[in-house]
Symmetry: C2
């Protein structure tokens, strides 16, 4: 049920023929109110897709009636014609819903640099609008999948109100945001400013710290819609905590279904001088192809970890740095410590702990290994 | 002959048992003078191997008698014991050659975090010193190979003087410097200051712009030795031009033998506001795994190129940027231009031209594709 679990939301997902391999590819999520408060965060890639450019305007007043999402085409680097497709999509959704086009958020995902077929999108939207249902969350979650192997959904329920979410994203997973589309709904009664604060706080430490393959998307969007249909206005701290739990759940689901991945790696950096430096160190390791291939081979190659740390600007002394892998401290004070033969990397979960001994700040980055299946999925066909 | 082509140099390469798979693994290159001028550049990785820490001191007076190189172990993150191995190696070479230990440059390559067997190194050095020969360049070039499939050597001859060089490096190939060891010799008569200027100028636009896999080494060293044995003092501009030619040749050889690579990719950025921005853009594309896997699959996926460009801080307008691949302009003014079906990527050489239309600066980055063989080589065994 995901996005339709909170009261006040309906959704649908249909097949419009946008995806070359068929299947559902247009999703519609509608907020029936009474409130239409919303917040959103977008990719920081300067190459922004047309739906991102549109949606940044749509969210500026903090009101969103509905979110239209399509797989089968990113509508990025498609010029003025591509922007008209997004605009017409919003106009068509608005006319179906009796809303204003300026209150329609649009998200697209798929290949960059190819025009999206507007006729297919609008036909799909017409069908989806007729199928809108308070049980339609699952269909919507399926319709936004690209190379995902299964839909990602989550629900966090509190006393009298709840948050639901769906996400897609398997490749181009990197920060700012991790390449993905995420729609989150809640029936709590919160203002768009309160939603914005909570959403930025949650994404900063969840989706933004998922860095599967270092490739930043042009289309990333996370949107949070609040209907107030529960009639309950939770205290902001309690809402923020619940939202963080939901975002963390969805981020973990994205990591676990990343293209071709055989390991889910958490890189935990402790003892950093600042949180930013902890993130920089974690990300440098997460993006090191030699480290990532070593993990694929179940090889606890901590030298590759430290070589990656050495490329950062973070405060640390190369002679006072520790590395543990799955609980075994393999390097201490910049020298070999326990035998790497004690490290078992045969399971899917890998935990790398790096202690910089330079302060009190910490951060964790989630990533994946670099595998034959990743190379295959991204070389065998265009995406 | 490579490093022994210029007059005044002898070299040798022997098998000392450092490499688990056997083969030559200790190389010695000696400058017989009359001059002993030298210059060197080292990795900018803050995790520097013990031989790099030693050699930065050794080069500080601009005089180097000999270079000792070993494969079979990087001697990095091996602590005080590891530094003593490097120091003892230099002492032993000095005693064999009747030189000062402070004039011996040491280079190591291999796995990080494992102690190097000093007894094997010194036994190998003793044997190498006895085999020193003015035809020994080839043996030395073989002894520094790790996952290289063949030795890399080059000679540039001018009127009465010449430059010779050898290089190793197949993985951890990234800037600052591209992970590698390079020894260059010349019989020209130049001061260490002149050598330093010429070497920094040449490496900046050759080895530093080779970014095969984005992973920066802890051991990179490029050293240039000048014997003055030709008796000729070329004009510095002419020497710089010849040195650039030699470095460019060796960098191309490194690229062509990069681990698992199926394509040699040149990313040429033009129309940049500054050279630094051109380099930043080229490197962002060179490090994008989705672009690299697409090239492996012969897929001219220019959307992945532009998504990578969008992550940079370089000046450009997303609606005024062109991309050509192997001569076909696939994107113009941020929109699809000629059909991607016209692009033939089946050959080994791939040329990506990105015009930012933001200025006059240019830069080229050399990289490789991301292949199954790269994943296999870096996951199947520790290196």
């Amino acid at each position: 049920m995901s996005v339709t679990h909170p009261l006040g939301f309906e959704a649908a997902g249909v097949a419009s023929g946008l995806k070359s391999k068929g299947g559902k590819d247009v999703a519609l999520v509608v907020n029936r109110g009474p409130a239409l408060a919303a917040a959103a965060v977008f990719t920081s890639n300067r190459a922004k897709a047309n739906p991102v450019i549109w949606s940044q305007q749509a969210i500026s007043d903090g009101l969103i009636t509905a979110v239209v999402l399509n797989s089968g085409g990113a509508n990025c680097y498609t010029g003025a014609a591509g922007f008209r497709v997004t605009h017409s999509t919003a106009e068509h959704a608005a006319s179906l819903l009796g809303a204003s086009a300026g209150d329609i958020l649009v998200c697209s995902t798929g290949i960059i640099g190819e025009q999206l077929d507007l006729a297919k999108v609008t036909a799909g939207l017409t069908e989806a609008a007729a199928l809108l249902d308070s049980e339609g969350g699952e269909d919507a979650a399926v319709a936004i999948m690209t190379t995902d192997t299964h839909p990602k959904q989550a629900v966090v329920a509190r006393d009298g109100w709840s948050i639901g979410g769906m996400a897609k994203g398997a490749g181009m997973l990197a920060p700012g945001l991790a390449t993905m589309l995420v729609v989150i709904t809640t029936d709590a009664d919160l203002s768009s400013d309160q939603l914005d604060t909570a959403l930025r706080g949650a994404t900063r430490v969840t989706f933004d710290r998922l860095d599967s393959d270092g490739a930043m998307s042009t289309n990333d969007t996370v949107v949070l819609l609040a209907s107030a249909a529960s009639g309950i206005a939770p205290d902001p701290a309690g809402f923020a905590e619940a939202l963080h739990e939901l975002c963390s759940d969805l981020a973990a689901q994205l990591q676990q279904d990343a293209e071709g991945a055989a390991h889910d790696i958490t890189i935990e950096v402790v003892g950093a001088a600042t949180e930013d430096e902890a993130v920089e160190v974690g990300r440098a390791v997460a993006r090191n192809n030699l480290f990532k291939t070593a993990v694929f081979g179940n090889d606890p190659n901590w030298g590759r970890v430290l070589a990656a740390v050495g490329t950062t600007h973070a405060a640390f002394d190369p002679y006072d740095i520790d590395v543990s892998m799955n609980g075994v401290r393999v390097a201490h004070a910049g020298e070999p410590d326990q035998s790497r033969d004690l490290v078992d990397l045969t399971g899917r979960a890998v935990h790398v702990l790096i202690d910089l001994h330079a302060g009190e700040a910490t951060a964790s980055i989630r990533t994946n290994d670099l595998t034959h299946d990743y190379v295959h999925e991204n070389s065998a066909y265009s995406s």
